[in-house]
Amino acid sequence: MPPDPVISYRSVSVVRGGHAIIDDVSLAIARGDFAALTGASGAGKTTLLRLAIAMVAADAGQVLVAGRDVATTDPAVLRRSIGYASQGVGLFPHWTVAENIAAVPRLLQREPAWIAARVAVMLDLVELPRAFADRLPAQLSGGQASRVGLARALAAEPKLLLLDEPFGALDPETRASLGDRLVALHRDQRLTTLMVTHDLADALLRADRVVVLDKGRIVADAPPTVLVTHPHPAVQALVASPLDQARRIAALVVP
């Protein structure tokens, strides 16, 4: 018997305009999982993620986080216990980097000294110079802002990390280095991570479990090594393009 799952979706449906955008989904994310949610756009990835922090309410079924039903938990308390990096980062533009990172610990009314020390640690963890603490978000590059977003999500020492397109519009090099950092953090901080990404390559390279959604249903849920050969047409459609790219790039290499 495995330990209780950190997130547990039980026959969950979300209906918008008479149409099920999440259609009877059941899924359990176990402690220590690094799961990627992927699929074509409109497949329901972000909705499934947001159900776990009660930013979307289920029309049918139940969502449990750490064994508690999110529908009956105070949403503010629930969200403060979870690390969440939203799509487009969403740093508070009027707060410095340090203030952004300190946001959740301050909501939890941690000691100012603890917070100050924690901000310094977080800057180190996301590999940003400590001098960045006093910068405003407008003075950061896209990659730096994403790192601050990650630091903000992790500042209050959550056990669960939810990421919505964390590599958004980053250039490939920044993507790779932030991706590596993320995997290291997941491992070192003993996190459970659920990451939404539209890019199958990111899912395959970072996660140890890939969940593919198609029209609000789960069509595949497998480790990367197995997923690549999964027979479902929706999975094959997702796999085809990066595999083809990889083959063509490999062919360019002169033997």
Partner: protein, 520 residues
């Protein structure tokens, strides 16, 4: 000239303090109303369009009309509270100004608030919710600081508009810089007009700059800048409070008699004359001048002012609602009988002159054509050009003239009063409308045509006394029949003319001396 400027500057501090006080109070009231509405619009976007639409409609009502509308409204409220609770709310002065000005300030405040909150990026709001901020924390820590520049833009526009519109509060009896502008325009005292306008403009610019400095200073965390802006605002507030405290009458003193005046020169002079007569009897007096024509009578009936001069023709139509023609004597008799019954207002005395609508010609021209009366004019009118003021052609007097004499002119043109007189003296018109007590009649050597068929109603100047101080009727009885039209014309001319212009108080003193009412 220098004396004129000195007089204007002497009026300034009191009006400036009152102006700033009423503007600040109106803005504060508007902000109190706007804040819950903005929050409601943010919570329920469906409310946004209707709320802004209503504020927009209010904005299209000219401020002057909005102020005038509040006076009768407050009178009704006052009568209701009088009946229910035994005290009336003041319908003149501060309250109507405050309400109208704050309604006027609502639109920029609401729009700035709504646009400001709508300008916060969706990703930022999502992050705020996602990290576990409550609605209140999100509003105070994220939305308001980010919306502040646009919200404060709305506050600054509202402040500038309110300071501008507060000049109009004079028409409902609230002291403001408008006192100087309205009085100056009426008696063509440009020192007063320019001083009042410049002071209002300077005040608007200073307040706008101070708010901007305070806002950007706070947003950019630049303490010096923020303190500079807040310091100016604090200094202005201290100035208003200090001036008010220094000039406030002791609370124990009885309210002085309030002499009212409508917004033209003759009224200013007569108010000063009445005030002087009362002061000679040891009675404390203040003058509230520049009242709108419709406001003055209502203010008297409601006890907001205690005495003023009106004209029988106006009272006949407006206060008694009579449409029939009547002789001078009948009008006076009916007004004496009906005003106390219907409005608790007493017609204390007829002053002895008329300020009636009449037609006038250049004396030389009239003599050449052999015209003395309106009947003579009717025979020649087909070759003559009539210039009127802007409202005459819409008035009952014009219909009455056409009915009574069958007047048909070769051409009919409407002018502002000053240009109308120029059209006549410059030869662009042969006949003009005129007021019988106008100072220019003697000065420009004009002939007022007689009205043998009594087509035009009489406009005898009469002293009206309100219900709060009925004793004033006896105290001012000495004025009855004492002011001939020639003396009134001369006094009016003294304040109207450009050379050796007199103040209304100086003209009133001259008039008192001339008519044996006790000169200096």
């Amino acid at each position: 000239m220098t004396a004129q400027w000195q007089r204007a500057l002497a009026m300034l501090p009191d009006r400036l303090a009152a102006h700033l006080g009423v503007s600040a109070a109106a803005l504060a009231l508007a902000i109190l109303v706007a804040v819950p509405l903005v929050l409601a619009m943010a919570a329920r976007p469906r409310w946004r369009a209707p709320v802004l639409a209503v504020a927009g409609v209010i904005q299209t009502v000219p401020a002057l009309a909005l102020l005038a509308l509040f006076y009768p409204l407050l009178l009704l409220v006052s009568q209701a509270t009088q009946r229910l609770a035994g005290f009336g709310v003041p319908a003149l002065g501060l309250l109507p100004s405050l309400l109208a000005l704050s309604l006027y300030a609502l639109l920029p405040l609401l729009r700035g608030g709504a646009d400001g909150l709508a300008s916060v990026p969706a990703a930022t709001l999502d992050a705020a919710d996602g990290i576990g901020m409550t609605r209140r924390q999100r509003l105070l820590q994220v939305e308001l600081p980010l919306a502040a520049p646009i919200v404060m833009g709305g506050v600054r526009i509202a402040a500038v508009w309110t300071i501008g519109a507060a000049t109009l509060a004079t028409t409902v009896g609230q002291k403001s810089l408008g006192d100087m502008i309205f009085a100056g325009l009426q008696i063509e005292d440009w020192a007063l007009v320019v001083t009042g306008c410049l002071a209002a403009a300077a005040l608007a610019i200073i307040v706008d700059t101070a708010l901007w400095q305070a806002e950007t200073g706070l947003a950019q965390r630049r303490r010096g800048k923020a303190l500079f802006g807040l310091g100016i605002i604090a200094a202005l507030a201290a100035g208003v409070i200090g001036w008010d405290w220094q000039t406030r009458a002791p609370a124990s003193a009885a309210r002085p008699v309030v002499v009212g005046a409508k917004n033209f020169g003759e009224q200013y002079i007569l108010a000063e004359l009445i005030a002087d007569q009362l002061r000679r009897q040891g009675i404390a007096v203040t003058v509230r001048s520049g009242l709108g024509s419709a406001v003055a009578f209502r203010a008297l009936a409601a006890g907001d002012i205690d005495v003023y001069v009106d004209y029988t023709g106006t009272l006949w139509a407006n206060a008694l609602g009579r449409k029939d023609a009547a002789s001078r004597e009948t009008m006076l008799a009916d007004l004496r009988r009906d005003l106390p019954r219907r409005h608790h207002v007493e017609l204390a005395a007829a002053l002895g002159f008329e300020n009636a609508y009449a037609l006038a010609m250049r004396r030389t021209e009239a003599q050449r054509l052999g015209i003395v009366s309106l009947a003579d004019l009717a025979a020649r009118a087909g070759h003559l050009r009539l210039a009127t003021d802007t409202e005459f052609q819409q008035r009952g007097e014009w219909a009455a003239l056409q009915r009574g004499y069958g007047l048909k002119f070769a051409r009919l043109t409407a002018y502002t009063p000053t240009l109308m007189v120029r059209a006549l003296t410059g030869g662009d018109a042969d006949v003009i409308t005129a007021f019988s007590s106008d100072g220019r009649i003697a000065a420009d050597d004009l002939l007022l045509l007689t009205d043998p068929r009594a087509a035009l109603p009489a406009y005898d100047a009469v002293l009206l006394v309100g219900p709060r101080r009925p004793d004033l009727a006896a105290k001012l009885a000495g004025l009855a029949g004492r002011i001939p039209v020639s003396a009134m014309r001369e006094a009016n001319w003294q304040v109207d003319r450009d050379a050796d212009k007199q103040t209304p108080a100086q003209a009133a003193a001259w008039l008192a001396a001339k008519t044996g009412l006790g000169g200096r």
